[in-house]
């Protein structure tokens, strides 16, 4: 990275480092509809240096577009809205390339599907014809391109992520956890522990035994007294903690034994296999994942990890060691032991990765040392989830129709109302106005096949009234806020860091509250 670039992006490199920046700069984002919220999203992605973006919109700039959108002005009236917007946005950052496509969406959908392959993420904003939306979602779902659908109406906003699966390695999990291998020390660690005869040490040295060694030795003692069992349940771990304390000559004076007691629960708990890893192992062998040349690298790693575990019966060691009371010599020795083991495991894991790559028809040249290193370091913090292609499901419908919950699930009311608002405009070629309440109700019933015998909940009708009272889908403030939220999520996907939305977010700007749902 050039000096200027480093300085320009300094404040964000501190959040996602060079790896995140490189992913971001390699990303191409596509915006469908040059709306106010769309402009805000792009602005927030162009500033931190997304690689490229494309705006798809065949409309011309109108008076209304100008008022809610900071990036359009009077000179643009009547011109292509996608070109006008791209022209303004391109000025934000000379590192970013922006393109405008003034072709109708339905026409693009009739064209070759490969058109969409160059995009890493698609953002659809506000109104798209229902059949186009369905066609586009189907197409991108199959091609594994994540789609964000964001909509603003009056003081409300909704955001939904459609992605077959989301897998994150660098989750930035704030948990301070160190895999210390207390339960199953490897040979060198065991040998080092055995080399210390703690009973013969003088008081000074006894107060400087690193707590890793204290825990290993206490566990040996425990196992002897408990028929080889390991204290896994909470009550047993508490008992074990007291055993640790009892091994101190004077707990007040020996900080290392205090540290050992404090670390007991986590050290024993985390020596177990993370449940997510077992789920991933099952999935990687199932029909869902086809190990071919298109398989995401994440699954290559999971498969390699599975083979690693089958061979060595343990996970690769991340190798980090917390600060602890110790003699300098012992601490340096331990740092070396953990570091060497971690490097060794990483090497073995890499061999498995190469093996899997070859077996699945990929090239050995695809091996990326940094990403393998990062995977090994983050093994305990991986994130994986599967998404939904649906806009809603039946349990959501029955949830909103429950008479009892009038105000209780108001954000769900908002979600359905906003969805209906755009469908209404699509079918009737104009947005509903305050006089359209009855029409809107009927449309809603029809859209979600609700029996006319059942009354609509009061709370829902309240939301109807609120939405149709506003004649605008783009109050700037709501666009700006939803733009911030949406671009934040796109950044997570583009930098492949932090865990993104799973999978529906609804904002109520009347009350400044929001809620998340999973479909």
């Amino acid at each position: 990275m050039s000096f200027d670039k480093k300085l320009k992006y300094d404040r964000q490199l501190r959040l996602w480092a060079n790896t995140g920046q490189t992913s971001l700069e390699g990303s191409h984002i596509c915006l469908v509809n040059a709306t106010a919220v769309g402009s805000e999203i792009l602005k927030n992605l162009i500033l931190p240096g997304i690689g490229e973006y494309t705006i798809i919109d065949d409309k011309r700039v109108t008076e209304e577009d100008i008022f809610g959108n900071f990036f359009l002005d009077e000179d643009d009236l009547g011109n292509s809205i996608s070109s006008s917007l791209a022209k303004q946005l391109n000025e934000l950052n000379t590192d970013v390339k922006g393109y405008a496509v003034s072709t109708e969406l339905s026409e693009l959908l009739r064209g070759p599907a490969e058109f969409w392959d160059k995009f890493n993420t698609i953002v659809i904003t506000n109104q798209v014809a229902s059949h186009d939306l369905d066609a586009l979602l189907d197409l991108l779902w199959e091609r594994r391109i994540p789609v964000f659908l964001v909509r603003t109406a009056g003081f409300y906003g909704t955001l939904q992520l459609f992605a077959k699966e989301v897998n994150v390695v660098e989750t930035h999990d704030p948990a301070m956890f160190h895999d210390l291998r207390i339960i199953n020390p490897w040979n060198e660690l065991q040998e080092y522990s055995d080399s210390m005869d703690i009973d013969t040490l003088d008081d000074e040295m006894h107060a400087h035994i690193p707590y890793v060694i204290i825990l290993i030795k206490t566990l040996e003692k425990w196992k002897k007294e408990n028929g080889g069992k390991i204290p896994l349940e909470y009550s047993k771990r508490s008992e074990f903690k007291r055993l640790v304390e009892s091994m101190s000559r004077n707990l007040e004076m020996e900080d290392n034994f205090k540290e050992a007691a404090k670390a007991t629960h986590r050290a024993l708990q985390f020596s177990q296999f993370p449940p997510l890893i077992n789920d991933l192992f099952q999935k990687v062998d199932s029909q869902e994942i086809s190990m071919d040349s298109n398989v995401p690298i994440f699954w290559i790693y999971v498969k390699a990890l599975k083979q690693f575990v089958e061979k060595y019966n343990e996970l690769p060691l991340p190798g980090s060691l917390p600060d602890m009371t110790s003699t300098s010599f012992a601490y340096v020795t331990l740092t070396k032991l953990y570091g060497e083991k971690a490097r060794d495991d990483e090497r073995k894991f890499k061999d498995e990765v190469i093996h899997v790559l070859k077996a699945s028809g990929n090239s050995e040249a695809d091996v990326n040392h940094n990403s393998i290193h990062s995977f090994c370091k983050n093994i305990h913090f991986l994130y994986a989830t599967t998404g939904s292609r649906k806009l809603y499901n039946n349990s959501m419908i029955s949830a909103i129709m429950k008479e009892s919950n009038s105000l209780e699930c108001s954000t769900l009311f908002i979600y359905f109302t906003v969805m209906c608002y755009f469908s209404f405009a699509d079918s009737l070629q104009s947005f509903p106005n305050p006089g359209d309440l009855e029409k809107f109700k009927a449309f809603f019933r029809n859209m979600f096949s609700l029996p006319s015998s059942k009354p609509l909940p009061e709370g829902l009708i309240k939301i109807f009234k609120e939405v149709i009272a506003h004649s605008s889908q783009s109050y700037h403030n709501i666009s700006s806020f939803m733009g911030g939220v949406t671009s934040q999520e796109i950044l997570k996907v583009s930098t492949a860091q932090y865990t993104p939305l799973d999978n529906l977010y609804v904002f109520d700007g009347v009350h400044s509250i929001s809620e998340k749902w999973k479909i």
Binding site: D4, L47, F70, D73, F155, S480, V485, S487, Y505, S514
Partner: protein, 591 residues
């Protein structure tokens, strides 16, 4: 709007497109390259231009609603530039600042003038907005703010255990002692005694204190070498430096047994063992190749190499043109010196070494920042403002706004994406809003002729102080109490610092009435006006304490977006959102 940075740019756009009548923008800063990743109203060509003037110009091009924009380039705390008469013209104040001092100042002004204030701030993915309605809701000072971390001198000087301790030592102690202005060559006896007292307040370990004082003396030697005009080529500065700080000083620390009872001992650096490798490395590579590698952690040898190069560069600068050098994160020589010396010290103490990139963040107090968080926070800020303006038709708008506003937090954690908390009442212990305040407007005649005695009499009469009072001018200058009567006969203007824009703190020596703070202003047309205030009786201390303990610390924190994401295949009844602080009725904000 105070501050035209990350939040400011976003907020200004939102306010302009929400059709606000007139906006004044104040900022002291100029645009730098590292602003451009988020402050979207600035371009490369604007670097070094004034932020406030540039934002106004940039927005003007898109100002189809004809909002009146008035930029001011200056320090908001300058009361000559921004007197109360200027402040009193606004109906709403936005803080979009990055420093505590200015935030506090604006908060105080808003308390004096009872102006609604929107306080906002972001750090990386975290952000917060807090509406402040003076004396009705908590002010900025009601919750004590975390001050930048400071460490005990002993931890920094003798027993570091974290990278940050070594970085602080390298920057604030080592670098400052050798290169910066504050280091004086000959210390007076009084200085030494002062230093000793300071150290004694932190540790009882006599040996440690003696050692630290001795180390100080020895820095004189280093300073002398570095300040002498001898050619840097002949100088043995680097050798003397490294031997002293990484070997002699460490050995001396090791001899103080009391320090190492429960700590890992440091290992002095044996510089001899690196001499040969250092020679070879310098024959092979230039230190320039290493220092650009900012994200990799350098080896000990590389750190030594960088330290050698940085020492020599700094020495050269002192020998040629500069009389002292202050640490500046953007001055690469100073940064490299701090990075390398901090890392070698860390190595000696068995602490993790850090990359230049990471050390720069700590030493330079760099706060991560991105466009998205600023957009979200500015969005909330503007929404809350519109909400407030829906209420001001009512006679008691602060109370009404109080019950319908909330403090909002955002974060990256999926289960804490947006959380909000109801506003709470001012803290009885708040140093800012727990006492009475008002603006005292002097006629020019009174300001020139009135004596302090005359003023004190008027204050007594106006506010009913029975007994004696004390008067503090500005931050801490005592101008009157029953022991200090020297100023009584002086005219107000003869008292140093007594002028418009300053404050007077009046305390009741008998503790019967609450404290009173008066802001000095002038009233060019007419006579001297005292603010109409009724002083409350002072609450007994323990009484107040009891009341405070009953109050929840952050108010009722309502998590609106918490862990309970509902899987919709599950029955919905189990879902419960935190209690809503807001009434359920729908409010429309007019745009």
């Amino acid at each position: 709007m105070v501050g035209a940075g990350g939040i400011g740019c976003e907020l200004l756009k939102n306010l302009v497109l929400s059709h606000v009548g007139e906006i004044h923008i104040v900022d002291l800063d100029s645009i730098t390259l590292s602003n451009l990743n988020r402050q979207f109203l600035f371009r490369q060509k604007d670097i070094d231009k004034s932020k406030s003037l540039t934002v106004a110009e940039a927005v003007e091009a898109f100002n189809y609603l004809n909002v009146k924009l008035v930029p001011h380039h200056g320090n908001i705390m300058d009361s000559d530039l921004f007197p109360v008469s200027w402040w009193s013209e606004f109906s709403y104040v936005f803080n979009a600042l990055d420093n505590l001092e200015a935030r506090r100042y604006v908060n105080q002004i808003c308390l004096y003038l009872k102006k609604p204030l929107m306080e906002s701030g972001t750090t990386g993915y975290d952000g917060q907005v807090q509406p402040i309605y003076p004396y009705v809701s908590e002010c900025f000072d009601c919750q004590p703010k975390a001050t930048p971390k400071s460490f005990p001198v002993c931890t920094i000087r003798s027993t570091p255990s974290q990278p940050v301790h070594c970085i602080t030592w390298a920057k604030e102690f080592l670098f400052a002692q050798i290169f910066d202005e504050t280091s004086t060559n000959d210390q007076s006896e009084a200085d030494r005694a002062n230093q000793r007292r300071k150290l004694e307040s932190e540790t009882e370990d006599k040996a440690e204190i003696e050692n630290m004082l001795r180390e100080n003396d020895e820095f004189n030697e280093l300073r002398n070498i570095v300040k002498s005009k001898t050619s840097t080529k002949d100088s043995n500065f680097f050798e003397v430096l490294v031997n002293k700080i990484f070997s002699t000083d460490i050995e001396r620390l090791l001899r103080i047994d009391s320090l190492w009872k429960s700590r890992r001992k440091p290992t002095p650096l044996r510089i001899e063992s690196y001499t040969k490798a250092l020679k070879e490395l310098s024959a092979e590579r230039s230190a320039k190749d290493i220092v650009v590698d900012e994200t990799r952690v350098w080896s000990v040898l590389e750190n030594l190499f960088v330290l050698q190069a940085a020492s020599s560069a700094l020495h050269e600068r002192l020998a040629s043109s500069e009389s002292f050098i202050s640490f500046d994160k953007d001055d690469d020589d100073t940064l490299n010196f701090v990075v390398a010396s901090a890392n070698i010290r860390a190595f000696i103490f068995g602490i993790e070494l850090k990359s230049k990139f990471d050390i720069k963040q700590i030493a330079g107090n760099i706060i991560p920042a991105i466009a998205t968080t600023n957009a979200i926070i500015a969005g909330f800020s503007c929404l809350a403002y519109l909400n407030y303006f829906n209420q001001i038709t009512s006679s008691d708008s602060f109370h009404k706004a109080f019950s319908s506003s909330s403090t909002i937090f955002t974060s990256i954690r999926p289960n804490k994406y947006i959380t909000s908390a109801a506003l709470i009442e001012p803290s009885k212990k708040c140093p800012s809003c727990s006492h009475a305040r008002g603006i005292l407007r002097f006629s020019p005649e009174d300001l020139n002729n009135m004596t302090l005695e005359g003023l004190i009499q008027l204050i007594r009469d106006h506010y009913g102080f029975d007994d004696d009072i004390s008067v503090i001018l500005g931050k801490s200058k005592l101008i009157y109490d029953y022991d200090l009567e020297d100023n009584l006969q002086k005219k107000l203007t003869e008292i140093n610092g007594f002028k418009a824009g300053e404050t007077l703190l009046i305390q009741d020596e008998s503790d019967a009435l609450e404290n009173l703070e008066l802001y000095i202003d002038t009233n060019t047309s007419g006579k001297t006006l005292f603010p109409t205030l009724k002083l409350k009786e002072k609450q007994m201390d323990n009484d107040g304490e009891n009341k405070d303990e009953d109050m929840p610390e952050q108010g009722e924190v309502i998590s609106l977006d918490d862990d309970e994401v509902v899987e919709l295949d599950e029955p919905v009844e189990t879902r419960k959102r935190g209690k809503e602080s807001l009434d359920g009725s729908s409010k429309k904000a007019k745009l």
